[in-house]
């Protein structure tokens, strides 16, 4: 249902349910949720490793120094760039498919066969 109701509101057919973009293959949706969480864990581990490497370079550290470590602006920028590159690698198949769709007149024609 995508029409606004008389109060101008629009809800999913069953608003109590979680969004399901893969209704026929719910496992795919769940799998994407798990991959999303997993990239967060990779990012966290990378940040922790980065902290270790930077503290090691400064000479000597223990767990408390790791916990207390505050990356400066340059370190944060490096981490953000690394993170974007990691995300780009993990989700590359999706970006590639989008690039392909943009150059695929056959699929585009199919998309325009819409029931009005």
């Amino acid at each position: 249902m995508t029409e606004l109701d008389p109060e101008g509101l629009v809800f999913r057919d069953d608003p109590s349910k979680r969004s399901s973009f893969f209704a026929a293959q719910a496992d795919v949706g769940r799998l994407l949720g798990m991959i999303t969480a997993l990239t967060g864990e990779i990012a966290m581990l990378r940040a922790r490793l980065d902290t270790h490497e930077r503290l090691a370079a400064a000479g000597g550290f223990d767990r408390s120094k790791v916990e207390a470590y505050q990356p400066d602006a340059a370190a944060l920028a490096e981490r953000m760039a690394d993170d974007q590159a990691m995300i780009g690698r993990v989700f590359k198949p999706l970006a590639d498919e989008l690039d392909r769709l943009l150059e695929d007149p056959v699929v585009q024609k199919t998309l325009l066969e819409i029931d009005r």
Binding site: T2, L4, P6, E7, G8, L9, V10, F11, R12, P15, S19, F21, F22, V28, G29, L32, G33, T36, A37, T39, G40, E41, A43, M44, R46, A47, R48, T51, V66, E67, A68, Y69, Q70, L76, R79, M80, D83, Q84, I87, G88, F91, L94, A95, E97, L98, D99, L101, L102, V107, Q108, K109, L111, L112, E113, I114, D115, R116
Partner: protein
């Protein structure tokens, strides 16, 4: 541990801060790397092809959305966008729960400054209770009872991530400063004595506004007790004494003519066609003659939105749980303000500012701009 901008902001451990930074990075990737490709496909490839057949993609955006949803890649993009939002709430919730007793202790200790009045009988309106807005588990209204501040802490920390640094960082107060700049642009001499912020959540804008008028009595209303308890302690730790109460902006319990200034900040798009005129009439009732009402909103209009922006808007409405997202962009809100009896109604765009300046050259304009660069501002005077 990270440093925090005020005493109530949850502190993040090394690993929590890394997870937060990654959620922001993931949202950034989805918004800046992938979404432009969908925009190009719809607005640059499909729209002209439809136009060649004499059809208007903007008019057919619902059918286009159904068509796109047949593509696995589109469903994957939708799911990842939802997953990133859910991951934000999950990671922030985990961080807040780890330190919730300490946050509640701080909220109860912060005795100096302001007040909170909750109402156990209060029921939020349908437009806020049917779904959890922005997918925030529990929505704005969730309250575990006396002393609970969890929903406020989760909202405050997540909002700083959600706006990705474009709304004033961890204080999230650019919209409050921008509202005051609009006030100064239109009424450079004004010195309000009593101010009301409708739909204040944790007082991001309320606290910023209060800072410009230290002599004023400032009130904030919203639908959740846990939000409001957190808001009071947050404002107090930033040096502002603000009176928060749990009320519906359509029907408050303040006396007629109680305020010189009534505002809201990005609230109207969370209401409904029925609520809009009621909120305007209530603001009119609450103002003394000569008082000013101002509403800040997202600077998006449905009639000028491209086919992709309409498809994206439908996604936002249905899957980020923003039921009035499209309705608000279609509504003639300025007319509801005139119908409520306001005079000198102004409707346009206010460039976002980090600090308002009473002496600044007015920059309120009829020229639209991108979200976070400008905000839509609507204001009127009660005669």
């Amino acid at each position: 541990m990270s440093t925090t901008p005020h005493a109530m902001m949850p502190e993040a451990t090394h690993d929590e801060a890394a997870r937060f930074a990654h959620v922001v990075g993931l949202k950034n990737f989805l918004m800046r790397q992938l979404e432009p490709k969908w925009r190009a496909l719809v607005d640059e490839k499909l729209t002209p092809q439809l136009a060649a057949e004499g059809r208007d993609a903007k008019e057919e955006y619902r059918a286009l959305e159904r068509s796109l949803a047949r593509l696995g890649a589109y469903r994957t993009w939708q799911q990842l966008t939802v997953s990133a939002q859910e991951e934000m709430w999950r990671s922030v919730g985990e961080c807040v729960d780890r330190q919730l007793p300490e946050l509640e202790r701080r909220a109860s200790d912060a005795t100096a400054g302001g007040s909170v009045r909750t109402d156990p009988q209060f029921r939020p309106p349908r437009y806020l209770s049917t779904v959890d807005i922005h997918l925030m588990p529990g929505g704005y209204a969730e309250d575990r009872g006396e002393g609970d501040v969890r929903q406020g802490a989760v909202f405050d920390k997540a909002a700083a991530l959600y706006h990705m640094g474009r709304n004033g960082g961890e204080l999230n107060d650019v919209r409050g400063h921008t509202l005051v700049q609009h006030y100064f642009d239109r009424f450079p001499q004004a010195t309000p004595q009593r101010i009301l912020d409708m739909g204040c959540t944790v007082g991001h804008s309320t606290t910023a506004i209060a800072g410009y008028f230290p002599q004023a009595e400032v009130h904030g209303i919203d639908v959740g007790g846990a939000l409001l308890r957190y808001a009071r302690a947050r404002s107090a730790s930033l040096g502002a004494s603000i009176h928060y109460s749990q009320q519906n902006a359509e029907t408050t319990d303040f006396a007629d003519g109680s305020f010189d200034l009534v505002v809201s900040s990005a609230v109207l798009h969370e209401t409904s066609f029925k609520a809009l005129p009621r909120i305007m009439r209530e603001a009119h009732r609450l103002l003394r003659p000569g008082g000013v009402m101002m509403h800040l909103e997202v600077p998006l209009r449905f009639d000028t939105a491209s086919a992709w922006n309409r498809v994206r808007g439908l996604f936002e409405a249905l899957h980020n749980n923003e039921p009035f997202w499209i309705g608000a962009q279609q509504a003639d809100i300025a007319q509801t303000v005139r119908d409520a009896g306001f005079a000198d109604v102004a409707s346009g765009y206010q460039p976002a500012v980090r600090v308002a300046d009473r002496a600044a050259e007015p920059r309120f304009t009829s020229t639209p701009g991108p979200v976070h660069v400008v905000w839509y501002l609507l204001s009127g005077v009660k005669r």
